[in-house]
């Protein structure tokens, strides 16, 4: 099991996966907007999305858990 965490302070503007989806290492889980820049946050492992802990528009801090992959 692995947690997908936010690399920095920002806002979630797009969620690319749903609970139960199969993902590969490097697949985009969410798109984070930090200031004026967009960045994909990716899955660290191959697996299935067990939980998504954020919604579009949520503000997140650095290291906030965004999703859980198992």
């Amino acid at each position: 099991m692995a947690e997908v965490t936010s690399p920095m302070v920002g806002k979630i503007f797009k969620i690319e996966v749903g609970v139960g989806d199969t993902v590969a290492e490097g697949d985009e889980v969410v798109i984070l907007e930090a200031m004026k820049m967009e960045m994909p946050v990716v899955s660290p492992i191959d697996g299935t999305v067990k939980e998504i802990k954020v919604a579009v528009g949520d503000a997140v801090e650095s290291d906030t858990v965004i999703a859980v992959i198992e």
Partner: protein, 262 residues
Amino acid sequence: MIEPFPSPWGTEVGLFQSLDSTSRYLWQQALDGAPHGSVVVADQQLSGRGRRGRQWHSPAGMNLYFSVLLRPRLQLDLVPQLSLVTAAALWKALSDDCLGLKIKWPNDLLCQGRKLAGILAEMKPGADGAEFVIVGVGLNVNAKVSDFPPELQGMVTSLSCECGKDFDLAELLQKILSELAFFEEIFYREGLKGSIRELINRNFFLAEKDVVINSGDHRRACRAHSIDDSGRLLATIEDGQKMAFASGEAWLEKGFYNVSGN
């Protein structure tokens, strides 16, 4: 078509007749190891993108659509400021020809209140800072009013519309890239806090205007002032409280500030 030329970073500028998106193409090149300062230009984009997944109208042969790959050695939290650095470089490259050019936080250049250029910056985070950043620019150069879709007319403009003459795309691109390389160096030396912030605030479209800021799921009516050393928008909300917005977008809403504040 623009003829090949070397970029200020010493790389060969990649020229294409047509791409889905210059940023998407360069993102793939970056994953494959393309060096800092790689530049990709397309005569036409089939799926040009703006911020938040919006489309960027990209017809052939009349405008500039290009992306630059940067591999900055910066703390991760400083990397997003490269969008504003790009806006400052564009302003410097274009302001002699385009009077009344303003920078709108966070990522547009406006002339007489109409959109002239847009910047879309995307980052791939790495283990220590950003692995790379792709800065994409769409600049309306020689397009005439009739070249824009009817729904955009009145909201957008081009250098040609503003100046009454056409521009050499290659010359203009070289000038912009030189300024971008120059401003990038300044930014690495002193951050936003010196001359870059000063340039932006001197030419800040939102200065002392009543705006609505959409930041995530919150909308706030406020009066915008300037940007701070971190590139955040400083504004006063209805109850007089000062706030600094790190993300979101702002648009003018005439009277909104006063109405909501009463």
